[in-house]
Symmetry: D2
Subunit: 281 residues, 4 copies
């Protein structure tokens, strides 16, 4: 029975770059990390070590740097990803599909005497703006998203009426902390709408819904956030969430003869719940 | 246009536990981390916050601890995962699919005066033995694997004959360091063969092939490892690899008037190549 | 020759807690991590296992939780650290010195329709506000600081006129990116001035100086920042900086027949420069 | 009041390198990370940006690579650190003190058919062998050590007779898991004894003592390990330990109507105890 190669892809990951755009004394800064994956006819590279169809991942990296330099302006990550995908497909006939994933981490201008500085910046948090382009010669899919957007509400979250069995120890509660690290991504109906403003509007819709929702469970809030996005943005066809439940455990002060009044909590990294869903129209 | 929930799952991640088996003075130790994901009819939990079909993830965690305690012996992680999946399916009619993922990190006995100690251990490395059980009422799939198995060979690796374009700077080489962090997983034809001995034999076949292979590319060595496993173990139906290329860059000593003799390298974490493939019969 | 115990301390690290202060519907949130270290007469705990002088670290943890609960208000971390140190010294005669270290990570209110939300928050970045109290029955030292405050300027930074030797390859430059992760801590002349406003003012002075400085080296900017703080705040007696030089390497585009115009950089985590100094009056 | 620079140092951190020694077909591999810190007269670099006394950290890095290349053999990290310190002091009159810190991570040969392979290796764990050389023109101190050596014993550890107060909830126990991540470093009386065999003997003494000790507390075991080293090795003048207490919490099965039999534990990363001491003769 011969061995068959039923799927393969290769590429370069963690290509970091920082781009400076200079408009006179005003400098703009963008910090991104790029991942590239090729699919195509690479069977003989695997079976007999024939590399004649392989564009080295080192060359992919150099291409990222050079295409970044080709534009003076800071570019939306979706646009840069599309340019990269187009370049690779155009110049590599052996490649059938290119996936480009980019995330951008925020930097904010330092304020000096109340004025935003022209060329000095502070790094923002771990939150990432993400873009994923899946491109073939027949079409392309554009998915934007957020990752590591940690959100917390100190009330308007409960969890009751769940299944009980012999291993149940979790008490029902109508007032708990709800904390999660939002990972969400949404697919656009067409590339033209994938702008930075759109991204900011979707992100804002997600966090406003999180803030305002009367949560009966993580699932309930997840659905509310997805529904709000799909109802508000007709150019979005699908949205996916992955939400860890970052448990913030109340301390039991009755052990010290004190009353529990729901003010001191221990946030825990593990174990954690994980709630995932995809919504479409 | 109404919103539809097109996929969802939930569960508990990073449930760590340590199990001690006592055979008189001889103690055995197992350190595992469990992840559980349920699929089922949870639509109303999302849409209206009705939790009546939700087994809390806290209860899942308690179930892991209790089922671990039910056996005195240290259990293969595949067997424990199967027991967990069976338990959850049997006791939760609303659940249609359970996925259990477990990884185990190695501990080794301390040698005292050349004798292995009865109850004292040193933690091994970051390498993980993994198991993933996907279980429905119609059947179950068993996938075992390794992760973070970092392997390196100082010769018998080259990379030549690849595509060149205007962004090519990588020199061809017939003698380079090949380093990777092996992530591999394989699907067994049936649960009965998923033993610890089998796992050790597959792992050994992978690393022996890595060591002995005359590598013309990462793809070439990936394929050789997969082929060796599929040829040797008829009970394995499919194997998947994800292999970062951990570049070890030679220093250019000609800048200091010295000769390059391929002895001093800088290992780099980023950027890195990433080569992935799945092989079957 | 007998063995002597020449120094020892013990305590609890990574005691995380989240405190919620409720003012009607307006909730405030504080996220801190506490470390406690005791020095004292613990010799016999070491030499013969006599624990009669040891307050368990588990009890230290419980004390942190309970003292946090004793105040309804969110407390400056310096004040909380002082309360903890006082409590431990008062109640543990066997303890001669207590060191309390606390760091706080920022959370910001979610804006909903332009209004700050009453009880929903987004986690800020990795930047930490730090406090360290060293307390004995004779006095106490208060040190506040920042950590992981990543700052970058895209111009007004150079590095020329340095020592050259046979291993020099670094080119002189009058225009480079300067990036660092600021770790700074300063000692107050007396506890009363250790307020949140003071902390914010010192932090602001540091980053404004970073932004405005014409940097001839990391050392040069470090000194400027320290000098600015000491000149502005007479209640600060000493300031210490630890500044990694996060190298942002310009890509050499001449390899691709293009011009180098100082716009695309590769930020690197390793290796990195590390510049440290302490300034006083 | 003028500002004074009361201490300063600078250098390069995280200089990773991999060295291959070739003895015909037999290859040896060493993976190290070097940190360099200079002290000296660098005042004017800080105060006026005069870099004429600064050897760039980039040059330090190049020097590490080149001095590594100067020996064909794999060198003990203490010897390499001494060579580096000597080189820097000899060639930089403005430098008064050099501190070199190196850690080495283990790699082991892959066994193929029971034989150790000539040029293929698997990365060992996170345990580090460390060396720190503090060198001036008047002398040098040599400190060797281990870090991240995680050790655990499943019995022969208790903790009783400690201080109780109103916040005590920890039960006394005469049989618990003791787990720690050993960080230890020891100072040699003279450089000549700082060999790899010595390092291995000291490490073995530490872990054998850990394994065999009837532990009444972490302090008690720390002292026993230090005492064993100082008694056995007359060339060691001082040893320092930093031992986190990695709590492994027993599950309370009585909540599920089961008996607690001390077999299932939850290892936790935070909070953790931290026990530190220094011993000399």
């Amino acid at each position: 029975m011969p061995v068959r190669l039923i799927h393969n892809n290769y590429g370069k990951a963690r290509v970091r770059l920082m781009k400076v755009a200079r408009k006179g004394d005003l400098h703009e800064l963008q910090s991104i990390t790029v991942k590239i994956a090729f699919e195509g006819n690479f069977t003989e590279a695997h079976t007999i070590g024939d590399n004649s169809q392989l564009l080295p991942t080192d060359t992919m990296k150099n291409t990222v740097y050079t295409l970044a330099q080709q534009t003076q302006e800071i570019e939306e990550i979706e646009d840069f990803a599309l340019r990269l995908a187009d370049y690779f497909l155009t110049n590599n006939p052996q490649v059938t599909q290119v996936i480009i994933e980019i995330y951008e981490k925020p930097w904010t201008r330092i304020a000096v005497g109340g004025e935003l500085h022209l060329h000095s910046f502070i790094k923002g948090g771990e939150e990432k703006r993400t873009a994923k382009i899946t491109s073939t010669r027949d079409g392309r899919t554009i998915e934007s998203g957020v990752e590591d957007l940690v959100a917390l509400k100190t009330t308007k979250s409960g969890f009751i009426g769940f299944v009980k069995d012999c291993y149940t120890t979790l008490p029902e509660t109508t007032d708990r902390i709800l904390a999660t690290s939002i990972k969400a991504s949404w697919i656009y109906a067409n590339p033209a709408v994938a702008t930075g403003n759109m991204w900011r509007d979707v992100r804002q819709t997600i966090i406003e819904t999180f803030a305002e929702h009367d949560s009966l469970s993580v699932q309930h809030t997840l659905y509310a956030m997805g529904e709000a996005v799909l109802e508000k943005f007709s150019d979005i066809v699908e949205i996916t969430f992955s939400l860890p439940n970052i448990h913030c455990l109340p301390i039991d002060f009755t052990r010290f003869g004190l009353e529990n009044d729901n003010r001191i909590f221990v946030p825990t990294d593990e174990p954690h719940g994980l709630i995932e869903a995809r919504l479409s129209r």
